[in-house]
């Protein structure tokens, strides 16, 4: 009996020791799994790195907008972009009543071109593109890290955790705007853990109301950079509205300087 008791004590005693040591380590040593969460700023930088094009680019874009009670509107456009001097050009190719209209941005100047009047008009970056919910600033390149930073909870910790989106492990985090001239002061991101690609994005108004959910369903790799070629935007404020963006025929060949001029846009529509 004393042997059994001795054995029991040994097992129990060892167990206690292990347990106590384990507690000690947990109190003073950060668990391995907790240190694997990156900072939000790191994630934003990686997102930016993955998607930032350093060359010229052109693509075809199709915007399909469905509005509750108003049917579907499809807008086809050709998009040219040069991030070096913040230039881009959008030329509408369909529907027929918008064909030939365009939007040209060169540095801080942003113009809208109307083929029926053959005139250019200065506009702001939040001008609607072809009457859709897409805005000029959706097509420009603005660094995520310059616009947003990680949001903190009440204890001062960054709001980031791990989660699963469908079957994909993701980082789930919240960011808030650093500057005033962004549409959405608060966003929540679901970003793939393996590749740091944005899979889902929720955008909130100043009052904290969920306004829009975006799904980036498909990416393609061009010049070692990822470009989301299929996105879905769901209007959370007015149910039934959604916009699908499909990007195709992506090229990263150097573009002629003359493309980013008013004359080019005018000549295209002749």
């Amino acid at each position: 009996m004393s042997n059994k008791m001795s054995n029991t004590w040994s097992i129990t005693g060892r167990g206690c020791i292990v347990f106590t040591v384990g507690l000690f380590f947990m109190a003073f040593v950060k668990p391995v799994w907790a240190s694997q969460l990156p900072s939000i700023d790191e994630v934003l930088k990686k997102i930016q790195y993955n998607t930032e094009l350093t060359t010229d680019a052109s693509a075809k874009v199709v915007l399909t907008q469905q509005k509750s009670g108003q049917g579907t509107k499809v807008v086809d456009m050709v998009y040219y972009r040069r991030d070096a001097d913040k230039s881009f050009l959008i030329v509408i190719t369909a529907p027929e009543n918008e064909k030939g209209n365009g939007y040209l941005r060169v540095e801080d100047n942003f113009w809208m071109y109307r083929i029926n009047t053959r005139t250019f008009q200065h506009i702001n970056r939040d001008e609607s593109i072809a009457g859709t919910d897409a805005k000029g600033d959706d097509f420009e390149d603005r660094k995520l890290t310059e616009l947003y930073q990680g949001a903190l909870d009440s204890s001062g910790k960054e709001i980031i955790s791990e989660a699963v989106l469908g079957k994909i492990p993701v980082y789930l985090f919240e960011i808030k705007a650093k500057v005033r001239d962004v549409d959405y002061p608060k966003k929540i991101y679901w970003v793939g853990k393996d590749n740091f690609l944005v899979l889902k994005e929720q955008s909130y108004s100043l009052s904290g109301t969920l306004m829009q959910t975006a799904y980036y369903k498909k990416y393609t790799m061009v010049n070692k950079k990822y470009i989301p070629v299929e996105h879905l935007y769901i209007d959370e404020f007015e149910k039934g509205n959604k916009t699908i963006v499909e990007i195709s025929d992506i090229r990263v060949d150097p573009l002629d300087d003359k493309i980013f001029t008013k004359a080019y846009l005018e000549n295209l529509s002749k």
Binding site: H122, N124, S203, S205, F237, E238
Partner: protein, 564 residues
Amino acid sequence: MGISIAFGVMILIVANSFSRGISDVIFNRVVRYVAGQVSVAFYEKNKIWCQIFRDKERMMKILDPEDPAILDADENVGIFSRAIGNGKGENVMLIGIDTGKKISERSRIELEQSFKVIDGSFRDLADEHIENPAILSTDKARDLNVRKNDVIRVRFKNIFGQEQAARLTVVGVMKITNVFMSGVIFLELKNAKQLLGYQPWEMGSMSFTLKQPKRDAIKIADKLHSRLKPGIARFVAQINGGGRKERAVILGYFNTDEAKKRIRDNVLLEGAGKDALGKKGVLIPRDLAAKTGVSAGQAIRVAYDNKFGGKKTEHEYTVTGIIQPKDCLSGDVVLLNEYLFYDTYYDDLPGNRGPPAYVPDPSDPVYASLATEWVLLPRTKTTDDFKKKMRQITSKNTKAAVIDVATMYEIASDVLKLENALNIITLAAVLILFFIILIGVINTLRMTIRERTREIGTMRALGMQKDDIRAVFLLETSFLTLFSSAAGIILAFIVMWCVSGIRFEFQDNPLGMFLVDGRIFFMPTWQGIAVNIALIWAIALLTAYFPAKRAANLKAAEAFRHYE
């Protein structure tokens, strides 16, 4: 003849009263609420909807709404929005109104006639126990499928372009006669400003209602424009570089080639890179650089007290150049490119408290390059010029806030053209009718004198002179005209009373904007009536003069021989 004159007077009074009524409705009920008779608009960030001035107290002192020519001064706060009611969505315009403001009796009556609340009251807008109380038109309530106490969700961008969403509680429904205002939802001004992102010390654009808009609009606009000349924007700050703090005056400079050249020509620029005066330009004088221990390429921290909110603002800038002014500026002035300067100046308006600091003199060689508190747009006379000016606001590359003073003649010219057209049509119709009546009067007078030829002969035979004969007919005509005019006035008021009693239902018809409470609005004035009578009397005398003169020249013998 008396009946013709009475009829003519009636038509003239009714037509003029109708025309004046149309003008009154257009100026005081349509233009006033749609565009304002005189407006002072503030724009920031080159955006038409970013209408904000950061220091309300100061601006109200400049604008002086107590001017005797001004009837009312209102702050314009409004935004286009998407509203969702009970299962239905509509585009609306959210507008803030100050229900606590004292307004003139005339304005109160006009307001109640233009926006007749049929359920609820304007006072309910100020109820702080209700979440964003709102009043909307019967049309919008129907379109959104809401009634009193229902909640409407709205989505809009605030004045800074940030997405915003809010819940409004319907506290009233109103019937609107002005078709331009049918999409409006009224909120209490304080609530509207909060939703749109204004701080309590900030304001939206202003519109002024005048006692005599046609007479005074341009004069008042010019007066306000002359008061709005901006000074040089500046703030006094603490500069911290290399661990040493110094007091400095921060000025901005415009990012134009001309402004930058003027600076280069008047300062010695040391240690400067290629783009020292570019958009990130920060120029510090040599003395100040030495005191703070900074040089080009190093960072300085600039800290200053805000005018409002009890805050302190701090920024870090990288010095792009050390300057040695040549007979300009002062040794403690730091120059920032307007792209850096205005970002902080407007968002955190400086208090500039403490001991007096350097103020640039207009004779300073670089004065014209210095950033001003705002840019005042020139006055324009025509709508086309006004439209060009508005397009320039979005195209201007300056970061400065822009102020514009305009009258209804520029903003609402299409509505005023409509008023002119209606007045011309009314005048043409009156002239045609009048001409017809005048012919009748002339013929009647000639016939009367012809029929009384023998009577004239008798009077001449009795010794009456030519002047007496002429006077008889002229006096007869005068008295007939006066008594007929009196009858005409009575008839005119009867007609106006009857016509204005008819109610029209022009719900979605633009013509409805000319009605007051669904009825045609006549505006007779005693001065106008007196002028009309005087005109009729003068014309009647003129038309009577020549036949009367002919009658007076008849010889007695010839007159006696006349037979009809």
